[in-house]
Symmetry: C2
């Protein structure tokens, strides 16, 4: 089926191309240009099946060589308590690496009632015998072998790709519990490899699950336990080149397996960036961003994924879908890019994307503002949005997060400062008159032309002042953003000491922001109490994005589960109640994490029955045999 329609599509395209060549040949006289403005990367797809991690790419085929199999991020980076009982962050990759974090222990103990004597370490290595032998589709495998595309059915490779980073997934792995995992892992190198894999999967009725960064927090990567066919994890990480940079149109054409940090680093070499910086960017992939409608920290300048993409190519069971034109904006019926974005791996594999790029900013400046209370902070952010003068990033954390941020301060001198002492010092010396249990902090990032940045900064601080906000310096801002990439490692530390937690997010109109923050946090506390959680939970929130018509709100929720017989079940019930509370308060099902399997139950009410029917009709057409059978969304 796939090849037939590709075939007729292909001869259609040939005919059209011939037509056009004859049209152009007759009269087109372009001046010969020395600098065509297009920098084309060497095409390496055909011959080179080597692991490209040495070529400036982050993700090797065998990810477990550098990444944890049962926790977040790099193996060499983790929080732990050293022999002196101090919190430390290991490794060398991050600003925080190799540093003592003196306040963290106190904070964990007081916030969770955690006790460093009570440890719940993870299973250190994968017990391969806990992994079901693979269900291999021999006919598929035989044809796959003849393509030369690398594959594996090692237990380790399969387990690595059997999960995302939802709490229940990591918790299970730490206990050495392995459920349904892919039977096979394949590593296509380029679009054509993907076409072959999809054709074979359709031919032999194999279940394909695209796997990009593996950072899903919506259970999107969980293998459906009821799936009896062979499950093949289509790992895109080796399909990761920038194919060309077009300096005239400020676009770049990129293979969808590239991860955020590589994309930015490679573009930076030419003086460009996409500016798309999701918190997961070290590991998440371009294809994953497209599939989940990703959002980045600096979307105020660069836009969200739907603003960044100019062209998408996706391989489906029906063939390749792509527009014929790279025009900036069109009216050619419903925009099929929006049938692809958000499809969460249910329709096909995104292989190549043309993205907008920008020159790297000349200048960057961090900042922070302390507000007397959260309400004033929100009102300030709302006014900044109303005046359409938001910096690249502006985020407002509540009082608990302010304190938490303080607890993560690394020790920079030999004088030890306790968490509480440091906190006291902060508000006594600088913010007299602010109630330490109500004050909250906004962190800011400006970037662009230096002169404009300084003007812009003044405008924002002037607005902040109207809402009782006091400038609190660049350092506090910078530290807020620096912590972005290490926060995810903290959950693993928590889980070493009976503390489990998760973040979840929503988008909501401005006039519901305060309600949602207050009601959801209170609901979490109440539900935990009802379900026997012994120590009050951490229930905290942050406004992370502003829009014309509302904001994105992020919640962190964590608790000490000591004494509970089924902690993950308690967690899931509380999270479920929190989402109900979010919806009841006018918040959306998700701002950017997506639906996966975790939030499917609310899809019908979110987009209406007719909307569901539309999505289903597209799925039934594109993938009638449910080859892309991750069971997300619908």
């Amino acid at each position: 089926m796939a090849s037939n329609s590709s075939g007729s599509d292909s001869s259609d395209r040939q005919r059209i191309a011939q037509q056009r060549l004859s049209v152009i040949a007759g009269h087109l006289q372009r001046p010969v240009e020395g600098n065509s403005g297009i920098l084309a990367a060497e095409c390496k797809a055909q011959g080179d099946k080597l692991d490209v991690s040495s070529e400036g790419r982050t993700v090797p085929r065998r990810r477990q060589e550098i990444m944890k199999w049962n926790g977040w991020g790099y193996s060499d980076s983790k929080f732990l308590y050293n022999k002196k009982g101090q919190a430390e962050f290991t490794g060398k990759r991050y600003r925080l690496s190799g540093m003592i974090i003196p306040g963290l222990r106190e904070w964990m103990e007081s916030t969770f009632g955690a006790n460093l004597q009570h440890k719940t370490p993870a299973a250190p290595i994968l017990n391969s015998s806990a992994v079901q032998p693979p269900t291999l589709n021999e006919a598929f495998l035989k044809e796959l072998k003849s393509t030369g595309i690398p594959f594996s059915h090692d237990a380790e490779d399969r387990v690595f790709r059997s999960h995302g980073h939802c709490l229940h997934e990591i918790f299970a792995l730490r206990e050495g519990k392995i459920g349904r995992v892919p039977d096979l892992v394949v590593w296509p190198n380029c679009h054509n490899d993907v076409v072959k894999i999809v054709e074979l999967a359709c031919k032999h009725n194999v279940c394909l699950m695209p796997y990009g960064g593996g950072t899903s927090v919506s259970s999107a990567l969980e293998c459906p336990p009821e799936e009896t066919r062979s499950i093949v994890s289509l790992d895109t990480s080796q399909m990761n080149r920038i194919l060309w940079i077009d300096e005239k149109n400020l676009t770049a054409h990129v293979e969808a397996g590239i991860v955020g940090q590589d994309l930015e680093r490679l573009l930076n070499e030419s003086g460009y960036c996409t500016g798309h910086e999701p918190d997961s960017m070290e590991f998440s992939s371009l294809g994953g961003w497209v599939a989940t409608r990703a959002s980045g920290m600096k979307k105020n300048i660069y836009g969200n994924i739907e603003d960044l993409v100019v062209h998408i190519k996706m391989v489906t069971p029906q063939g390749v879908i792509e527009k014929s034109c790279q025009g900036p904006r069109m009216s050619t019926g419903p925009d099929v890019h929006h049938f692809i974005m958000g499809s969460e791996g249910t329709l096909g594999v995104v292989t190549e994307v043309t993205m907008k790029i920008r020159p790297m900013p000349e200048y960057q400046k961090y900042g922070s503002v302390v507000f007397p209370n959260f309400e004033m902070g929100v009102a300030c952010l709302r006014e900044v949005a109303r005046q359409r003068c938001a910096p690249a990033s502006i985020r407002l954390m509540d009082n608990e997060q302010f304190k938490f941020g303080h607890a993560l301060k690394p020790q920079v001198s030999s004088i030890f400062t306790s968490f509480l002492d440091g906190l006291k010092k902060f508000y006594i010396t600088k913010f007299k008159g602010f109630d330490p249990n109500r004050l909250c902090v906004a962190t800011l990032l400006f970037e662009g032309d230096r002169e404009k940045v300084l003007q812009h900064e003044k405008q924002v601080y002037d607005i902040a002042a109207k809402f009782g906000g006091l400038a609190a310096g660049e350092d506090n801002g910078q530290r807020g953003y620096m912590l972005t990439f290490v926060i995810a490692y903290l959950r693993d530390l928590g889980m070493d000491y009976y503390v489990i937690g998760e973040s979840f997010e929503t988008s909501v109109p401005w006039d519901r922001v305060l309600d949602i923050c207050r009601n959801v946090k209170a609901r979490i506390v109440r539900e935990c109490k009802d379900k026997g959680v012994q120590f009050p939970p951490l229930s905290t929130c942050r406004v992370t994005q502003t829009y014309d018509a509302g904001a994105c709100v992020y919640f962190y929720f964590a608790f000490n589960y000591r004494g509970l017989s089924d902690p993950v079940h308690v967690y899931e019930q509380v999270e479920h109640a929190a989402r109900e509370e979010i919806l009841a308060n006018g918040g959306s099902l998700s701002h950017h994490h997506g639906v996966g399997k975790l939030r499917k139950e609310w899809m019908r009410e979110t987009i209406s029955s007719v909307g569901m029917g539309m999505l289903k009709s597209v799925k039934d057409y594109v993938d009638p045999n449910n080859i892309f059978g991750n069971r997300n969304l619908l």
Copy 2:
């Protein structure tokens, strides 16, 4: 079918609402607020079936009372040559109204070889006997009558709604040629009326064609001649209220039949605007904008329709589709709003839309820049886009349009200035050294905070100077924009004198802009010659929008058809060739006019077979009996 799914949807929603009320009641303690920030319009839908044109609404039910039945716009406004042989614009509605335009005649004569002795006037009134008697579906009509919804099967009402404003449509009307027209016209007053109409149409298998402003230029409103069922034109113009304005979230909830000028005028009364100003805004409707992915002149500030909408409600044969949340941006699968936008009346009727609103700008300033040639002008616009400092509007016209603009200068004193004299004076006194046959003009509009506007203006003029651009004053800018709404009336004048023409548009990457402008204009000239057009055509273009990755280019094409036996056929062949040329040069099928029936043949190559399949699958699900049978798009 429609009522069943609405029914279960409705009881679903009730149950969910109950659930939520109990959740909220338990703990929600909102401060009592005096000013809720929501201004709600009185609901008038139920009782008032009066024609609301007296209530500040532009469009009466019987549009022919104020609008031309066979030409553009208001009946009282037209270009004509008076007894002295001078061009005049009649009426009182426009700045140009009641004025002499001394240069126009000379321009028409020299540009087209037109001769005022050779007239081809339109049929002045509709010959009702030329109109087929209506094919009425009696069962449908009977049930319709019991709803109380106004309807008509008068010939005049039916003919009025049988067309948009493509050349071939107006040409035929002027000759008194009437093809397939709707059999019935209905005027729903509100969403619930539309629900009833759609239910009845499904029940009795009647073809529904939504009719908003009637300004389509894609043959979208043409009634399919092969349609044997009764065709009902669902005229949305009386469903035109602003239901509420939400000052806290800066949104407004509006019925989709409202036309642009009413929407802005009504919002202005509260100090707001949407800022959405398509050239058709006097007559085009909110529902039409959504259905066609409309773009507005000031999209650089306010965005295009996809940036403006927060919530859409559409009635389909399967029921009502709408999201449950008004959040600013979500990841809940593919965005169903994008299944609706661009559906061009093939899936249902858009009834209500929540749009973003903005405070009216404090300050507005026009401007203009003269460039030595078009290439420099384009390079300047590209640089303005690169620096992301475009004004509210920036448009670059080519040399022919500069001259044309000059020809439209009204006579403001008793001293008559010939077109050529005025032109000479313009460049001799001001732009010495500029080649009068190569110079071109950009018109600019800035709006916003006064201080920022002046800064912004300086930045743009500084960039223009780098490309040889000289500031040419506010007047030239303002006049350019003032002409926006009268240009469409010119075609009717042309058609009085054997001149026919059309505009068409595309979007294209920056590096193809010059090619597309040169090649398409040349192709038009060549095709006209090949097909026996006696006098060289007007073939001119303008860059009307800038984006990060490209621009919107507008072409005007007109010619004197004297001596041709089938002028419309010649016109269609040339337009077809022009579109082929656009596509061959990397331009899109349309930036904002849409596809309709006029451009269906290129849909498959535009979005690929898989894309077509997706659109078809949605259509087949939503409207399996093709009730919304206008045959657009697919």
